[in-house]
């Protein structure tokens, strides 16, 4: 029974390192040996815990990635009033994380979408499901914002959500090169401008 803990601990270590390397080098460009070398583990250990490289990836997406995206981009918005403020805040936080050090999980997600597009429909489904959760939450929050008087009633919540997600994915793609700090500043500035429009009456 206690061994179950060790099993989980080892699997977690593998998943965590796997996500890190998959993010840095891409899934197809990262060999299982790369991951194992970093952990000082052997092939046998890997295939004892996971059926295949793909099975390993799926477990990472559904366990690690989903949770991280959720806690970073969904939870901070959920049920809050003044949606436009909390949405821009959550995105700004995500971009700041990205700028300072390392793993911005929203970006990991969009990287994976790009990498697996047209190659692995099953993986794509898991990834798009995470996007969907974010999207639905944005829409719900925006709609609630309408009844609470924060959002213009004429705004198309679905379209706004799409636009927000798009611009976030795009700015993260651009931030990999160039001056991330400046890019973030410019981006947030325009996002807030855009939100002003939605907060107004009878324009959107």
């Amino acid at each position: 029974m206690e061994s179950n803990l060790k099993r989980m601990a080892t699997m977690q270590r593998m998943q965590s390192t796997g996500l890190e390397l998959f993010y840095q080098q891409g899934y197809y460009n990262t060999s299982i040996d790369d991951i194992l070398k970093k952990l000082s583990l052997s092939k046998g250990a890997f295939y004892y815990h996971f059926q295949s490289k793909e099975d390993f990836l799926i477990s990472i997406i559904q366990n690690l990635l989903f949770q991280k995206v959720y806690s970073m981009l969904v939870e901070p918005i959920e049920g809050q009033e003044d949606p436009l403020t909390v949405i821009s805040k959550s995105i700004e936080d995500a971009l700041e994380t990205a700028e300072h050090n390392a793993l911005d999980f929203g970006f990991v997600l969009s990287n994976f979408i790009t990498e697996f597009n047209g190659k692995n429909p099953q993986i794509m489904k898991y990834l798009m499901d995470i996007i969907k959760v974010w999207e639905v939450n944005l829409i719900t929050t925006l709609q609630k914002g309408k009844t609470d008087g924060y959002v213009d009633r004429h705004a198309d919540s679905e379209a706004v959500a799409t636009y927000v997600i798009s611009s976030y994915i795009g700015i993260r793609t651009l931030m990999v090169e160039g001056n991330p700090r400046m890019l973030r500043y410019k981006y947030i500035q325009q996002l807030k401008n855009y939100f002003k429009l939605i907060a107004q009456k009878a324009i959107a």
Copy 2:
């Protein structure tokens, strides 16, 4: 002298097929044999014309990709009056191309950026240079739009350009899955809303 034409023709065929497969399957996931098989050519032919796979890719980026992005996203805007209208038109056209059939080169560009990020700085530079050309052109056109009275003088042209590029890259990433037609519609709708703001006075 005449043989030079044959050389160029063969190289063009290789580059064209190469770009198509690199776009569909990714660079690292496409073997040289994949390309040669499609062209009924041999390894020898490939290495007669190109030094390496990487050299091949660079030639594709600098010859094919650059020109295509330029003619699709830069040229239609260049020197035109009423910048906001022509910009949204050019993006709408690009998305329509993407939706209907095949190669949307702006998206090829952003796919490559994602794939080579952190792996090949040299390739990244070539790719970001193309983005830069687009960005500079957007900024120039927006600035000209200010003096011509189409764009609000208070608008931050650089920030607007960044925001436009970001959202385009993002929506294309999303369009790979889901309903591309609807996504395009929603996106363009919001882009035009955003542009209304910039056309107004003293807000942006």
